[in-house]
Amino acid sequence: MSSAEIPFSESPIQRYLYSHDVSNAPLIGLFLKMPDAVYQPRNEQEVLEILKIAKERKTPVIPRGAGTSGYGGVLPTKGGIIIDFTRMDAFEVDEDKMLIECEPGAVWWDIEKKLNKKGLSLRVYPSSALSSTVAGWIAQDGYGYGSLKYGGIRDNVVKLRIVDFNGVREVEGEELKKYVGMEGTTGLIVRAWIKVKKQEDMRYYAFFVSPNEAEKLVYSGDHYTAFFLDSGYIKLKNMAFGTNMPEKDTLMIATTQRLEGDESIGEEIWNGRFYPLRIKKLGPSLVEAENILPSNKIEEYITLLKNKIKSPNGSEVCYIKDRRGAVLTFILSDERKKIAYPLTWRYSLKAVKIAKRMGGVSYSTGLFLSHESKTLLGKDYSEILAFKKKVDPNSLLNPGKVFPEGIIPFFIRLAGLIA
């Protein structure tokens, strides 16, 4: 399986290296199958060629950005071809239209640095911006810095150029929902147009408040971004960073407005924003649970979860503009402990259950939570599934992701029942 021109590898080592993400779910490896090859296309034409090969051989294709998510979205369930978009990382700034036009492998922070030189800035970017890619975050439907004012990446994508087995198409408006958050199951993103904003003089304030008090402050003004770190997380952060922050529940607001908060600690939190995983060194493993909740339920959710989790843990909340928050809970663990580690993973499933009871949803679906897609997508689920079947009748586009398939959803559901 080779195309003379496109960089590719069939080496067992490269195939192994391109078959993981940041998760390390127990036992999941039993249900995965090593891919046959890894391709690194350099342009849209080469992506089309790879899809042609995949169609002829009826083999799956798994698109891959930087592999920085933890939902199994880039894990190969049936082998196939990994398409790594590392070499398609170009982007251009359109200052007139206030847009960036990017290839799928463009890295968020590279874009932001270039924008800043022109006095512009991304409206939203992920906490993994130093390495994560444009298409990766769109395919996951992420939230991040700026989501308080500008919503998720979904709200900031203007147009997508898509490659599927039928060729190339460009979509915008209502049709974007068929691709955003779909993990490449309906087509591969080869170009994206994303809104940018003028760079602003931002200030960063910290407030030592509970989640309920935080909610009031967050939505009391026109702020750019806000995130909340609970005392458990600050404690772990102090241990991992060697810092000496007050070990209290803390809200950080980034805003152009003047507020009465602690600017020194606010800036400290802001400057460390790309390093949420630094606490992993205390683990050495980290289990994560991430759900989106109505902002008035966050305190209750964190308290309930905290009472159930026996291992050291901490939570971080990223506030979203429509009075919701993405709550990410980190639980320290040790993958070498064969019983304790899987038991710790149960908490991430338990967290979804608790969140749903409170009107929340899982943050994403990927492979591990594909059975949550119906809840997450709501009324759009049937329409997008029908579309998927139309454009990908043999389910070769990233099978098992978003739309449940095979034994893994059953296995996860079973684990969820035990949880």
Binding site: Y16, H20, G67, T86, G283, E335
Partner: protein, 376 residues
């Protein structure tokens, strides 16, 4: 390949966040097996018996310049440079390495006490014409590269010390390779032999302070030698200084006063001097003292992009080294500077090669050369 505890700890702690994509080798090659994340994940696979070490992966472990860019961004603060050197040493112990050119420089060093295979007496040729003492509490350690390949750096350094009235001794042919090329390429045993030869010579001659103009020697003497001394049971009580630190102090004390350099200058941080030893400001202060217009490259100090010549990459993977050098020289070109100044003979020569290959006209010089011309 046996995965020892130190390596296993790093495997477990790696967050797989891929911030280490800044790796110069990955930037050029674009396959994860050369990236820090990829190498750690490969070691995990080897440990778990999922993949087997092959020759290509062994070579990938040696495609790293040990520049330390990965350490700067690592979410879990792993000591990655030490780790890569340990893995290389483990590969050598397992008989999977050294690679052919690394073995060649070792063979030469065993015979001639330097990796260039030059006769020992040639080491001191550059000092002809200078008056010097061969013992004293402060010595100038020229290093193999300045001695045999870049004598202008050694000469300028000593010239400047003389102009400032700073008395430094020089050991001539009794200066030995510091061992850096061997520590970086997993051949620690021969580096230990050079350590012993050097330290014994320094003791014999009453040395207390060592000044070097080579970033590689500086890193080795400053960071590696105290650890080796501890390991081998030697007492370590030497002060190690880089020439840029000494010259900056001499300027501040008014012992040398450079004329104005009416030019735009950019500065390349050698990895061994900058990221490894955190000497970022002294060379810049010297450049400012020259009155030059210092413009920074986009990536500077801790974010600086490696020139590509370190860690044994230039000797074993010439094309890869040159590709990295081309990236860096283009970053220098973008500043519009007339001079690209560095503080390391390896960086200077490699970036000169890269400038030639790219057809870029920029004066690539060592800090001491420029300063020497400006000081009466």
């Amino acid at each position: 390949m046996k995965i020892e505890k130190e390596v296993e700890d790093a495997i477990l702690k790696c967050a797989q966040c891929f911030y280490c994509r800044v790796c110069p080798a990955f930037t050029v090659i674009k396959w994860e097996s050369v990236s820090p994340r990829g190498k750690l994940y490969a070691l995990r696979g080897i440990k778990n018996g999922v993949i087997k070490l092959d020759q290509e992966l062994v070579e990938d472990f040696f495609r790293c310049t040990t520049c330390g860019a990965c350490e700067e961004v690592c979410q879990t603060s792993l000591n990655l440079v030490d780790l890569w050197e340990k893995v290389r040493n483990d590969l050598v112990k397992d008989g999977k390495a050294p690679l052919v050119h690394h073995k060649r420089i070792r063979d030469l060093a065993e015979k001639f006490d330097n990796p260039y295979g030059e006769p020992r007496e040639k080491r001191e040729e550059w000092i002809r014409g200078f008056k010097y003492r061969d013992s004293g509490d402060t010595i100038y350690f020229a290093g193999c590269t300045a001695s045999f390949r870049a004598p202008e750096i050694a000469k300028s350094t000593v010239n400047l010390f003389n102009k400032a009235g700073l008395e430094v001794a020089y050991l001539g042919r009794y200066e030995y390779c510091c061992g850096s090329p061997f520590l970086r390429t997993g051949q620690r045993d021969i580096a230990y032999e050079f350590f012993k030869k050097n330290i014994e010579e320094w003791r014999k001659r009453g040395v207390k302070r060592i000044i070097t103009s080579c970033a590689g020697c500086y890193r080795t003497l400053l960071l590696d030698y105290p650890k080796i001394a501890k390991e081998l049971g030697y007492e370590w009580n030497f002060e190690v200084l880089h020439s840029s630190q000494v010259l900056n102090k001499l300027i501040k004390e008014g012992k040398i006063s450079p004329r104005k350099l009416d030019a735009t200058v950019t500065y390349h941080d050698p990895c061994h001097l900058g990221r490894h030893a955190k000497v970022y400001e002294e060379p810049r202060e010297v450049i400012r003292a020259m009155g030059a217009n210092l413009v920074e490259m986009e990536r500077n100090r801790g974010d600086s992009f490696c020139c590509g010549s370190g860690g044994g990459v230039k000797s074993q993977f010439k094309d890869l080294a040159l590709s990295m050098g081309k990236i860096r020289i283009n970053e220098a070109r973008e500043t519009g500077a007339e001079y690209l100044i560095s503080c390391c003979p390896f960086c200077k020569y490699h970036m000169k090669d890269a400038a030639k290959a790219e057809g870029i006209e920029i004066k690539v010089v060592d800090l001491v050369e420029v300063l020497d011309e400006l000081v009466e």
